[in-house]
């Protein structure tokens, strides 16, 4: 089953979607982190494949990336780890386009598929540059997720929603990844605009830092992506159990904040 079908099925069951992020290879026991996320109620897990120059990432994910690379993390090694992990939830790889281009898009996507990955996010590959990878991903059964930003004009937003697979990644704010004190108003406005365009799942990411943020963002969106808030804890030395516990708090906040009717979205 594709990533999108699995997410749609969960949404149809009245569940808000929660996708935590972990930098592959950040510690030698990073798979324990991934398993803790699954136990805490993740609906999918985003696994970062470290690239030396993560242009869209703020200080936390940059540090996580550089630490993973310093520990010897490689795309090949991370995918080998994932292939043996047998997780119950979909895995979504995220990385920068240079790693895809270096391997060749067909080979890269086949390697993802063989490792059990069903989705791919490439933040520096906007719609106009995505044709080749979109084709390779489709051939390998990988859903290539496209990003939408607060500044994306309506016609382009419609194209992104149409061409994205898996879900549409709504970037909450003009900025890089990283923890913030509030969820920007631009997030809700962007989700509303996407709602009018597509029934594909819409997930909000960038700056979702607390259980309250997650609940707030998930009121309008189908779900949230949480990265820096979790990785900062990992960098600070928290155990997989501790970080999983934090995600569990987000899970509860998102679930308890469901509006009447279970939060199932119906087309406007």
């Amino acid at each position: 089953m594709t990533l999108e079908n699995r997410l749609r099925r969960r949404r149809a069951a009245g569940r808000k979607l929660l996708m935590p992020y972990v930098t592959g290879g950040i510690t030698t026991t990073w798979l324990d982190q991934l398993r803790a996320f699954v136990e805490a109620g993740a609906d999918a897990v985003e696994v970062g494949l470290p690239f030396s120059d993560p242009t869209l990432d703020g200080a936390t994910i940059q540090e996580a990336t550089h630490r993973a690379l310093a520990c010897g993390a490689t795309t090949r090694g991370i995918l080998d780890d994932l292939a043996g992990a047998a997780t119950e939830v979909p895995l979504v790889a995220s990385t920068y386009y240079n790693l895809v281009l270096h391997a060749g898009s067909q080979r890269f996507c086949a390697a993802l598929r063989d490792a059990g990955v069903s989705g791919l996010i490439v933040p520096d590959l906007p719609l106009g540059e995505a044709d080749e990878l979109a084709g390779s991903a489709a051939s390998a059964g990988i859903d290539l997720v496209l990003l939408a930003a607060p500044t994306t004009p309506p016609p382009r937003l419609a194209q992104i929603a149409e061409r994205s697979r898996g879900f549409v990644y709504a970037v909450s704010v003009m900025g890089t990844t990283g923890e913030r004190t509030t969820v920007a108003d631009s997030a809700g406005a962007l989700v509303d605009r996407l709602r009018r365009t597509t029934d594909r799942p819409v997930m909000v990411g960038f700056g979702i830092s607390t259980p309250e943020h997650a609940a707030h963002a998930a009121r309008s969106a189908d779900g949230v992506v949480v990265g820096a808030a979790l990785m900062r804890r990992v960098l600070d030395g928290a155990s997989p159990y501790d970080v999983g516990s934090y995600l569990a708090r987000m899970r509860r906040a998102v679930d308890q904040d469901l509006p009447p009717g279970g939060g199932r979205w119906t087309r406007a």
Binding site: Q62, L69, L101, H102, P126, L147, P150, T152, M174
Partner: protein
């Protein structure tokens, strides 16, 4: 070297590999640049600034004594004589005027050797804009004089401590900073790198070097164009501007890179900082740190148009070591009374090597762009061994 069109492609290179958050911003920069460049009023304003503020046209200086030693006819295009001391000011004034036309109040820049940062701080002061300049901590250490100049001109200099703490890291940090400020800030790229329209726009602003030199060569040379046109290449802006004036002639184009930062000569196809080009990478596709005595050449890649010229065989790209470059500084200082920037000295070092090896035929005419003056590098040279001077 024409208009790469809306996709920003030079052959298979270029493009716009930016986060979605920057796509609309880049589109607006392209639209504004196209309108401005077709507006005689904008171009008149830029030409006037380049004349009265920068000191253009810069001279073409025959290097008589060195030519006699090398057995070639070497001419120097003197970008070192511009206000602020390097070719960077040509592009920055163009972009600063464009930023003001777009209603932007703030320039964001990255800098390696500091020359682009000084040019940005200068243009900002001249046009009443704010400037924030990102600079690797390592470059801040070796270019302290330029850091002070930027601060004197009112710019904020932001140290970047990640990665190799040089130009590449400063570029990444400047782009991150820009994502959050696209409403009020213009990203003022310093070289022919980055997402479309930057490589094309920067080359267009730098084309003034090549166009002036073409006219000057026509007056100086019996054959109107030199046999060789040589320029140093980091990202490659002075070379792109110079080459643009000669790409449709019989002149052989030579870009000279630092041995430790040879994106064109040694790089592989990749995507970094918004464009597809050639970059130094390891076997896993991670970007490899560049190393050069010249901070302005300490970049792991090369602009996409250079990658395209390389593939076409229209330009060739050579590498020069730190020691060769340092020796070239001394050679030019003592034969012509000119202290070139270490970046420019790479181009000169190749000419010296090629003339010595007989690769340049006796009597060949060579145009070399001196992209900047060497004041900023004197402490680097003073603290290191000075080739040719055992004292």
């Amino acid at each position: 070297m024409g208009d790469p069109g809306p996709t920003g492609r030079f052959g298979r290179y270029g493009g716009g590999y930016v986060p979605e958050s920057l796509v609309e911003t880049c589109r607006r920069v392209e639209e504004a640049f196209r309108q401005a460049w077709s507006d005689p009023g904008f171009r008149d304003s830029l030409t006037r600034l380049l004349t009265v503020h920068v000191g253009r046209p810069t001279p073409l200086t025959p290097a008589l004594r060195l030519s006699a030693e090398l057995g070639v006819h070497l001419m120097l295009k003197r970008e070192d004589l511009t206000h602020t001391g390097s070719h960077k000011i040509n592009n920055v004034l163009g972009q600063a005027l464009l930023a003001r036309r777009m209603g932007r109040s703030h320039l964001i820049a990255e800098t390696g050797a500091g020359q682009h940062g000084v040019a940005t701080a200068t243009a900002a002061a001249l046009l009443g804009l704010r400037a924030t300049v990102f600079m690797g901590e390592r470059d801040i250490e070796r270019q302290a004089l330029n850091v002070f100049r930027m601060q004197l001109l009112g710019a904020d200099v932001v140290p970047v401590g990640t990665g190799s703490r040089t130009l590449s890291d400063a570029t990444g940090e400047a782009m991150r900073y820009w994502v959050g400020r696209t409403d009020e800030a213009h990203y003022c790229a310093g070289s022919v790198i980055g997402p479309h329209p930057y490589p094309w726009m920067v080359r267009t602003f730098q084309r003034v070097i090549g166009d002036e030199a073409r006219g000057q060569c026509a007056r100086e040379l019996a054959n109107a164009v030199p046999d060789y046109v040589v320029a140093c290449v980091g990202g490659g802006s002075n070379a792109a501007g110079t080459f643009a004036g000669f790409v449709d002639t019989s002149a052989r184009l030579v870009g000279v890179e630092a041995a430790g930062g040879a994106g064109a000569a040694l790089g592989r196809v990749g995507v970094l900082h918004g464009c597809r080009s050639r970059f130094l990478q390891d076997d896993a596709g991670q970007i490899v740190e560049a190393h050069s005595i010249a901070a302005g050449l300490d970049y792991p890649g090369v602009g996409p148009e250079h990658a395209h010229l390389r593939d076409l065989g229209r330009a060739r790209y050579e590498t020069v070591s730190d020691d060769e470059a340092a020796a070239a500084v001394v050679r030019l200082a003592r034969t012509e009374g000119i202290v070139p920037a270490l970046e420019s000295a790479h181009a000169l070092a190749w000419v010296v090597r090629a003339a010595g090896a007989g690769e340049l035929p006796p009597g060949a005419t060579v145009l070399l762009t001196l992209s900047g003056r060497g004041d900023k590098d004197v402490s680097t040279l003073k603290d290191g061994p000075t080739p040719g001077d055992p004292a």
